[in-house]
Symmetry: C2
Subunit: 293 residues, 2 copies
Amino acid sequence: MAAVIFQRLCVIGVGLIGGSLARALREAGAVAEIVGCGRNTTQLDKACELGVIDRYETDPARAVYGADAVVLAVPLGTMKAIMTAIAPVLADDCLLTDVGSVKGSLVRDAREVFGQLPANLVPGHPIAGTENSGVEASFATLFRLRRVILTPTENTSPAMIARTRAMWQACGAEVVEMGVEHHDEVLAATSHLPHMLAYSLVDTLARRDDSQEIFDYAAGGFRDFTRIASSDPDMWHDICLANHDALVKMLEAYSDDLRELAAAVKNADSDFIKQMFTRAKQARDAYCEKCGE
Amino acid sequence: MAAVIFQRLCVIGVGLIGGSLARALREAGAVAEIVGCGRNTTQLDKACELGVIDRYETDPARAVYGADAVVLAVPLGTMKAIMTAIAPVLADDCLLTDVGSVKGSLVRDAREVFGQLPANLVPGHPIAGTENSGVEASFATLFRLRRVILTPTENTSPAMIARTRAMWQACGAEVVEMGVEHHDEVLAATSHLPHMLAYSLVDTLARRDDSQEIFDYAAGGFRDFTRIASSDPDMWHDICLANHDALVKMLEAYSDDLRELAAAVKNADSDFIKQMFTRAKQARDAYCEKCGE
């Protein structure tokens, strides 16, 4: 069992990610007390019943009282309001970190709320999740062997980075550091763009007159391909707007490439099609050798 | 154990689909002898060793000799050459069926080869597969609880349809019938288009300077989303060209919708984004209730 890292951890937003983090830290013996915070008391009662948190507050300013670490696990569109609520009472030596999928917007929000970027702020992003949401979908091993990207700012204190690293390592994750902008570009490519493509495909098909029949004949490949279109629409709406610039760039690059493929199919350009499919298969197979599929 | 349906079945192309069909029919006791045919004798020797086929020929005309059923399980681009080779020797009472993913091209090829569409031709398409290929990837349960679409022509004899149905039912599949053109449209939407999108995404990312890092940070959603980009490039090249018309139409419809989404992201059009994601999630969840995810 690991040493206790936090005496009192406050998790704001006890859903899939916040709940899984709480479970993992508790299982690792890394935290003495966990205080939850949210607006939905049914969910918070459930979280208490499940033993994910010890108790909860619905007022963020009360929730962070006496905590030595606060984790923001709310949708991106809610981050600023929460930071505004806790800013007046947050202790300087209390770690403030988050799990948001976009880091540029979080840093912008923090700068506006705090005036300058606080030394105790360590923006973070665990590369883990499922298409399910809510505390009942949370589980302690969600972060095991997953990457967590920290994007410290120029003001972040090394001690706070070390504590955040220790927190994620206690969950079994591998921690890396990256610049804010670079993080947002990489995630636009590997996560945000694929979600857009999947949502868009399912919607294109769902709006057809024969959509019922279409879905009837969809096979296993389609099920896997569209799994991410079952993700939480509100969360993904927030991600789209928060990572707006990088995402629009990726969508445009992808659309150009798709247009080229459509032209090649139209013109029966065998060489183009074969070469492109072969390159893609090689890249995907190489990636999957590493991901252990 | 089911009754014997075929005394001598000839499977031309003993790969994932042809091999799995042979295994399933043998396990069901539905066939007395299975003759394989192909060009790659290493694969065919392997198929004999694995007990998938009893013996093989490399010359299609010799392979079909004395068979009461012939299954074409070769890439779409090879169908015409095979039919040309067997046409002079194929008995009128021998069932001729195929497993190709596009039915319009198969019917066109058959009409050209045979002069008119033969009464013993039953075009078919099992909606099953994996991203793997080759006889070693084949397994007897591949078609269990899967749909098989038959697209009989105006000349197809009802007795031949009945035998093809019996063959697939012996493999545990559910058999339905559909018009040729309609089949190709439905499959363009649910299978061919998603493959294009996945190939295109992986290729777009693979051609970036930071592609190595990009793939390093890809998570589980990306793995599922891109699984179909590991499919056989040659087979998918053939499908693209064979289903050219329906696929180009689908690619254009999809591109238009994706452009609309990109514009909505660019303009931070919250309502559009939320409504679209919500519609897509609902359609995908409804589909998956049926597919049992």
